[in-house]
Amino acid sequence: MSEGSDTAPATTGTVLPRAFCVRRGGIAMACALLAVGLIFVWQASLLDFGGLGLPGPGFFPLLLGAVLGASSAVIGLACWRESDEKKTVELGHYDVLVVFVALLAVPTVFEWLGAYLTLGVFGAALLILIARTSLWLAALSAVIAMAACWFFFQLLLGLQLPTGLL
């Protein structure tokens, strides 16, 4: 008979999701897409449209921007007519927010601090904040990981990553 084995939970963080009404969120998403479409239409109108027979660089994006705007409006209208206000979607889980904020910080300092220092701090921060490891274990893991990355990417593959402050 086969045996089973327990594993640690995938994540054990405090989660802070906030429930957002699907109807309102759907309308907001549709409005965002509509705005994207209108921006493309606006910028495309500044380009050479050409003619129907010989389209210029502005033809395609103008047409697509208009279609995007129209389809977003249809989606928004469908969401607005949806009567069920109880259906929700959760956003803002703690681990998700932590990872996303950390990801935003990476390109900000990537070339200034250097690839290995940035990614080392990034990895250690995630281990502490979402994997709930101790500081020394996170630091040790980050050093080992960066050494492995340097060996694999720089020595073996010849990829020159920015060294920054190092």
Binding site: G4, A10, T11, M29, S71, V74, V99, L103, A145
Partner: protein, 503 residues
């Protein structure tokens, strides 16, 4: 050289030490990617994309393709042992595969899944070998107007068959086409939507977008789940199936090979759809349909075979037409382009070694996977013991390095991060990312061929309704309607796949 001679030449590349090594790396990494929930074949391929930069294009594509079909093999392992699909296409296998595991028959389930995958993969490779060359010859003879019709048809089909709301899918398609216009216009060199930023002159990095939309967003979504993973661990001696299992699964494997083969060619049809259709067909044909859902071997054999049969045939539109039908082949197209090889009708004449080397390596990879999957199942189960919170930093660090190394531009990391966040929110509200990515890849060619066709015809739109276009359009639409009609007749409903894609 005849096709047979070219296949022999392809085997000489695939059987070289580099070909075998990188095929093995791809298959092994693909299996690991398939086993680990939350890391799909697309993310797995992108992570190893930088590894291909110093390689010959053929060897690089052999490795990336190995990851692609390796992931299909690996996904069944977690479906059967843990009831968590390693990737979306293995959702159906959870139904009967896990029930078999609970009954102490995990070994036969794994073995039948592996054998079915092998047969399905082999059939699809044969299809690739025999269909792609004549299809490519036909494509060379037709002009840009027919290519426009084909691409529009592909986009329309994606819009209809993809999971989720059709209007939302169409919106994502249009958004993908729009994002593809960012950068310098191919025909006039005019800067479009760059806002004076030199980093955007070449357009948005496909790799960064792919990793962001599929990899980062998937990680963010998986971070919300906190279920413990309890894996059933089979013993090696239990892997041998009974004669009855082989007899019961043989017809399912045969039917599923054909189903996967046909569905693989249709653009936008993910592996999920083919597996659901196969399951529906097996249940319809079974003498004991009441056994489905309770550990029916055909419920494992069919979907897993169909899953792998899609993989090879999905390469046909990519290699013969230059039209990727699923996101993974879109990444292969991007990888080939980075290496200076343009997939499409001229691939077989300009770079036959790439096509035939790939075909030969798929035969070899298929055998490798059959050998790899079963003895190493214990190792793969142990991988599932690694807490997801530990995997996240590793995956993200490798992703960031991979994305940066394509153009050595920090702008690509920004694109990855921002598209990841956007993808996360869009998916929460029911928008699919695959159509956007496919449209992004096809948009450039659609616009270029559209404008070229009009230039050649002197601005006459009737060029899009010429005889060749109509023949291609009607025969393709006829085939699609037939296939969809048959699937419906066997009890497949789009809602099943919608639920699975959202699982």
């Amino acid at each position: 050289m005849t096709g047979f001679d070219q296949l022999i030449a392809g085997f000489s590349i695939a059987l070289s030490w580099k070909g075998l090594l990188y095929c093995f790396i791809g298959c092994l990494w693909g299996t690991i990617v398939g086993v680990l929930p939350g890391l799909g074949p697309l993310a797995g391929m992108t992570l190893l994309l930088p590894l291909t930069f110093g390689l010959d294009p053929t060897i690089g594509i052999i490795m990336l393709t190995g990851i692609f079909y390796g992931a299909m093999y690996g996904g069944s392992t977690t479906s059967i042992l843990v009831r968590i699909p390693g990737e979306a296409a293995s959702v159906v296998t959870c139904i009967d595969g896990y029930e078999m595991a609970r009954q102490g028959r995990a070994g036969p389930a794994l073995m039948i899944a592996a054998l079915g995958s092998f047969v399905g993969g082999s059939v699809s490779i044969l299809g690739l070998m025999f269909i792609a060359p004549p299809l490519a010859k036909v494509m060379i003879a037709i002009g840009p107007s027919v290519e426009v019709v084909l691409i529009l048809l592909a986009l329309a089909v994606i819009s209809v068959v993809s999971a989720g709301s059709r209007i939302k899918t169409a919106t994502m398609l249009v958004l993908g086409l729009l994002l593809g216009t960012i950068g310098l216009d191919n025909l006039t060199g005019a800067a479009r939507f760059t806002f004076g930023n030199a980093n955007l002159a070449g357009g948005l990095s496909f790799t960064a977008l792919a990793i962001g939309l599929f990899g980062v967003s998937e990680i963010l979504i998986n971070l919300e789940k906190t279920e413990a993973i309890k894996a059933i661990r089979p013993k090696m001696r239990e892997l041998i199936p009974r004669w009855k299992d082989l007899r019961d699964s043989a017809p399912a494997v045969g039917r599923a090979s054909i189903i996967g083969f046909i569905f693989g060619i249709i653009p936008g049809v993910s592996h999920v759809v083919a597996t659901f259709v196969s399951y529906a067909v097996e249940k319809r044909f079974s003498k004991h349909p009441e056994e489905f859902g309770k550990g029916a071997i055909a419920g494992v054999a069919g979907p897993e075979t169909a899953n792998n049969a899609v993989t090879g045939t999905a390469m046909i539109p990519l290699l013969a037409l230059g039209i990727p039908s699923i996101p993974a082949t879109a990444l292969l197209l991007s990888a080939l382009t980075i290496h200076g090889v343009q997939p499409g009708p001229l691939l077989l004449t300009d770079h036959p070694e790439v096509f035939w080397g790939l075909v030969a390596s798929m035969y070899i990879g298929n055998v490798m996977l059959l050998i790899l999957n079963l003895p190493l199942v214990g190792i793969f189960v142990n991988l599932l013991r690694i807490p997801y919170a530990w995997l996240v930093p590793i995956i993200l660090i490798v992703s960031i390095i991979g994305v940066y190394s394509v153009n050595f531009s920090v702008a690509d990391i920004w694109i990855m991060v921002l598209s990841g966040g956007a993808g996360y929110v869009l998916r929460k509200f029911g928008y699919e990312m695959a159509p956007m990515l496919l449209a992004l890849v096809l948009g450039d060619r659609l616009e270029a061929n559209f404008r070229l066709a009009l230039t050649m015809s002197g601005g006459d739109y009737a060029t899009f309704a010429d005889k060749a276009s109509i023949i291609v359009l009607t025969s393709t639409v006829g085939l699609l309607l037939t296939v969809q009609g048959l699937a419906w007749a066997f009890g497949y409903r789009k809602s099943f796949a919608d639920e699975a894609e959202g699982a």
